[in-house]
Symmetry: C2
Subunit: 158 residues, 2 copies
DNA sequence: TTAATTATTGCAACATAGTTGCATTTTTGA
DNA sequence: TCAAAAATGCAACTATGTTGCAATAATTAA
C-alpha cells in the first residue's frame, strides 16, 4: 500500500525537472521511491527486471541525469558499488551506515551541528556543495553472527 | 629533503605489522609517505613507474593488505576511484574535500565534536568502526576557472 | 652462511563496472 | 496526426578489479 502511494507521485518529479516521461525513467523512480534504504545498481537491475526491460546503458544514463537534476543523491562506498536515494524535502541529506560484512546501507538521523562548523562555511579555498558522512562497522545482524561463529570455533577447539 | 626524511621511516611500519619487507611494499609505502594528499591508484602507478616494476595485481594486493593491517586508510569517492593515505598517529582520521571538477582530493582539519554525538556511541544497532566525512564542491582553482569561462561566454554573446 | 620452508610476485585469464557512437524507436509539441 | 527532438538499445570498447597458478624472493632455523 505504502509503496503504491509513493509510486503515484513520481510523475511530478519528471514534470518539475522538465524531463520527458519515459517508462524507463518512471520505473527507475518507482524503484527508488519504494526503497526504504539507498540501493545500488545491482539491486536496481534486479528490481527492474520484473517490471520493465531496460538496458544497462539506459540505467546508467538515467541515474546520471537524475543526479544532474538533483532528483537523486549518490552515496559512495569503499567497496566500489555506489548507492542511490531519492532527494526529496522530506528526505534531506543525512549520514549513512554501511556494514563492512553484508554491505547493507542504512540511513541515520540527520545531524544538526551545534555550531556553524568552519567546514560548512564557504571559505576562499573551497565552495562547499555537498557533505557526505559515511559510518562503517558491523550491523546488529552481522555482529551477532560473528559472535556465534567465534563461540562455536572456541567450542570446537576444546 | 622532507620526502627523503619521511621515506626512511617506512621499514618499521612493515616490521611492526609483522609483514615481510619486499621492494614492492617499500616502494608503495614510500609513495604514500611522500604524498601530501591522498592519492588514487592511477597516480600511484604513475609514481611507481619510475621507481620499480610492479604488477597491477601486486599493487591491489598490497593496498588491500595494508588496509587490513590499518597501515593505510581508503577514502571513497562517488566517481568510483578511491584514494589512499597513510594512517599514522600524526595523521588521524579527518574530513576530505573533493573537487567535482578536477577530482583533486585534499585533507581538512580533524573535526572535534562539541558533544558526544549519538552516532559515535556504540548502540544496539551498529558497532561503529570508522567515520568518513567527504565534502565536495569546487576548489579555488576550478571556481576561478569557471568564473572566467562564464565571463568570456557572456562577452562572446554581446 | 646455507638450505628448506613459506610467502610474495607476476602472468594470464577472467569478471565486473561504466562509457561512447550510432541506428532505431519513442516522446513531445505544434 | 505528424515532424522534430529526445531517449533507448545495441555493439563494441575502456577501465577497474579479481583469481589460480607457476616462478621467484624473503624468512627462518640448522
Amino acid at each position: 500500500m505504502r509503496a503504491d502511494t509513493k509510486a503515484k507521485d513520481v510523475l511530478p518529479i519528471l514534470q518539475n525537472a522538465g524531463l520527458s516521461k519515459t517508462p524507463q525513467r518512471i520505473a527507475v523512480l518507482n524503484i527508488l521511491a519504494k526503497a526504504d534504504e539507498p540501493i545500488n545498481i545491482a539491486a536496481m537491475k534486479q528490481a527492474l527486471k520484473s517490471k520493465i526491460g531496460i538496458d544497462r546503458v539506459t540505467l546508467y544514463r538515467t541515474l546520471s541525469l537524475f543526479k544532474k537534476h538533483a532528483i537523486i543523491r549518490e552515496i559512495s562506498s569503499v567497496n566500489g558499488t555506489n548507492y542511490f536515494e531519492l532527494a526529496t524535502l522530506e528526505h534531506p541529506v543525512h549520514p549513512h551506515f554501511i556494514c563492512r560484512n553484508c554491505a547493507k546501507l542504512s540511513c541515520l538521523e540527520p545531524l544538526t551541528f551545534s555550531q556553524a562548523s568552519p567546514l560548512l562555511t564557504t571559505d576562499k579555498d573551497y565552495s562547499v556543495e555537498h557533505i557526505e558522512i559515511n559510518i562503517s562497522g558491523l550491523c546488529a545482524g552481522c555482529r551477532n553472527a560473528t559472535k556465534l561463529q567465534k563461540r562455536s570455533k572456541n567450542n570446537a577447539n576444546k
